[in-house]
Point group: C2
Chain length 437, copies 2
């Protein structure tokens, strides 16, 4: 049974705060181990990378076999059934179309003082995408990370993906190929992150690293942050569904389970204005949990972190949802557009009964890399913006400098930064000697 | 004497790489101390904050005096001379006008499948701005951090600024007032960052923390990252000037010194195509260093980290500059617009001889919080974007779900995520039973 709350009951606020503050993940402290691995890669490059891969992935590599060859990739992707290839191609096309609209625009203008101002966006030169091996090796995540990078104009895009014992997921290689990835290295863990950030004899360093990973990968990303850019450090997944009771309880049950099946630490919350509907959803979940392949994982998540909250009305539901700031928010209500206006914090909103969150995971177009653990309060999902950066522009004419320079000089003096003031004054004096503009 | 390099000399590449890799800052390892301070604030709130302020800032506070009162602020800002107030007002106005153009746009469209897609931007609800006390207490930085937040629509904006021994900078309070800051707390260090992130009885927690600070503040920001958003961790400042020899060597000398005077760890680099001009700049710097108030700091920075590089031509100069990815880049050349097209990595570009970097520090309009330590390769200066976040939107019609749902189902199966596939299948079956759309 999940937690069952009602906003009208005594003690609701305390129970809701407890739910909000629930610690869902024990992050093992692997920082010391990771620091050692990074130092080793920096000191010994390829040799260390090959040793660590033999140790952790039981795979013997050489500098020549660190990356998949073009022939190996062709041979693997040829194994992908036509139906899966078509689905992946459609997903890639839709994700590309969505992200192409995200490209930010340059700007340049001349203001009243005559100063020319603006900015210019440009891509990161090289990016590395981490793809976990084993169970969590999701081809959809390759598309979601690689396509925004290519749309942004990243010139060199490489993937690091461990292949424990040599096991390869052909769909991951196909997803990389469809997204324009230049190179796939069969390395993983903290050693892969270190190699991407610092480079080895064989691997040229990148400027930005994105993609999910285990505790070692996350700790390594935190450590190399600053040397390179990183995306967020993702926590376990979450869904919050607001339902007014108009839909099919089984649909909602499946949507909740589609998060719960990811991970025992995932969290699925239903907020409904209809108590009977809430109970029907709980019953439907119980029924689905009898047969789901991943019922052990989904059941544990639902039991430990699942919650059903009965709210007085939809506005109250929206307010509670804003306090959760969920990664995924489904609005399964009669008028989802109206309700969405009241939502201030959410990674992604899925509007209406025909938009299960799984559509967003694969094929809708928006990115599925989204802020977890309440961080939608201050951060956004992955996008083209993660692979571009802005350079600001300023160009003074003599007239503009005469108009605003004296104020800069006053402020420099007030901050006791003499050379700042003199660099303006020297130019103003020269202009005045010339008799001005 | 600064480092003097020539791209035509043997061993240039090795010397340039050495210059790039120079470690300019010893960050003391204060992480354990900071962890203790954060735990103390979380456990004991105001009491701990007041004790730590007494200890580090020699200032006795009560919960009632943690924040400046409106009367105290009025009394302090009344001390600001009219000339300084006018300069600060002009700066605020220009910074606001520049940043107002940065507001990103919402988007919503319907694609060929009938799916409605888009995104929506919204402000962070509450932000905290750290302002250092003492020498580095810059009113200009208050404007540069606070104005983008207000332009973004941040509802609650607070400042934390230590006042060691009770010493207050009236200009900081005026800058806060001009930018629409709601509350100024007279606390600093890691304890202020912890109070902003976790809250105390008196201080309501914020969602995002920005602003510069010492090693303790930087370590605390790293630690609370995830609980709240943070801006970059800034390193010592840098300037790179590309000059073709057409300008006044003394102007360039002053521009280089305006970075060098910030900090002994600051770095000032000149790349010129005219060796004689490079030598003239070095001579002009020597002369200025005889009289500059901050000559001890500026001289140490110039001696240890300053560099003059003679390049074959301007394109080579641009390529070297891109490898440095400087925080500030001045193009003191006859045709700066042409040269700027070759620049791929820089925090801010100052075009032409009449745009000293100090203009950008105070009054140009663009933000002066910029990526340091080569991070312009992958990150941007502070902007309105740091105070907004994006929520993606997706809404399927029955027709859109029928068109793209089956592919989502195929991909879910390929990733062994059964409930994902079933959540789509249940809806498709219902639609098919109904005889379709």
């Amino acid at each position: 049974m999940p937690h069952f709350l009602d906003t009208r009951e005594d003690g609701f606020e305390a129970r809701f705060v407890e739910l909000l503050g629930m610690k869902r993940e024990d992050s093992p402290d692997v920082d010391a181990v990771v620091a050692g691995i990074i130092a080793d890669i920096r000191a010994r490059g390829d040799a260390a990378l090959i040793e660590l891969t033999a140790k952790f992935d039981r795979l013997e590599l050489t500098p020549e076999t660190l990356a998949f060859s073009a022939e190996e990739i062709e041979a693997e992707v040829a194994k992908v059934p036509a139906e899966e290839r078509a689905a992946l191609e459609l997903a890639a096309e839709r994700i590309r179309a969505y992200h192409e609209r995200q490209m930010p625009h340059d700007a340049r203008w001349i203001d009243a003082s005559g100063a020319e101002l603006g900015w210019r966006w440009g891509p990161v030169s090289a990016a590395g995408l981490y793809v976990p091996g084993g169970l969590a090796s999701y081809p959809s995540s390759v598309l979601m990370n690689a396509i925004p990078a290519k749309v942004a104009g990243v010139e060199r895009l490489v993937v690091a993906c461990p292949t424990p014992g040599g096991a390869v997921n052909p769909l991951v290689l196909l997803a990389a190929q469809l997204s324009g990835v230049d190179m796939v290295y069969r390395v993983g863990g903290a050693q892969a992150i270190a190699a991407l950030a610092y480079g080895t004899e064989t691997i040229t360093p990148v400027d930005k690293i994105t993609g999910p990973g285990n505790a070692f990968v996350a700790a390594a990303k935190r450590r190399v942050f600053g040397r390179v850019g990183i995306d967020m450090i993702a926590g376990p997944s979450e869904i919050l569904v607001i339902a007014d009771g108009t839909g099919d309880p089984d649909w909602i049950a499946l949507d909740l389970m589609s998060q719960a099946e990811h991970d025992e630490s995932a969290q699925a919350i239903l907020i409904t204005t209809d108590e009977a509907f809430g109970k029907a959803v709980v019953a439907a979940v119980e029924k689905r949990l009898e047969t789901l392949e991943r019922r052990a994982i989904a059941g544990a998540s639902w039991r430990d972190f699942g919650a059903v909250i009965v709210a007085r009305d939809l506005m109250e539901a929206a307010e509670l949802s804003n306090r959760v700031a969920p990664e995924h928010l489904e609005l399964c209500v009669a008028d989802p557009d109206w309700l969405s206006e009241a939502i201030t914090h959410a990674g992604a909103i899925f509007l209406g009964a025909y938009t299960p969150e799984a559509i967003g995971d694969y094929i809708g177009g928006p990115n599925h890399v989204l802020p977890t653990a309440r961080s939608a309060r201050f951060s956004s999902g992955l996008s083209v913006m993660d692979f571009v950066k802005r350079t600001t522009l300023a160009k003074m004419t003599p007239g503009a400098l005469k108009a605003i320079g004296p104020s800069a000089e006053v402020l420099a003096k007030s901050e006791s930064l003499e050379a700042h003031g003199l660099s303006v004054r020297a130019r103003l004096d020269a202009l005045n000697d010339e008799g001005g503009q």
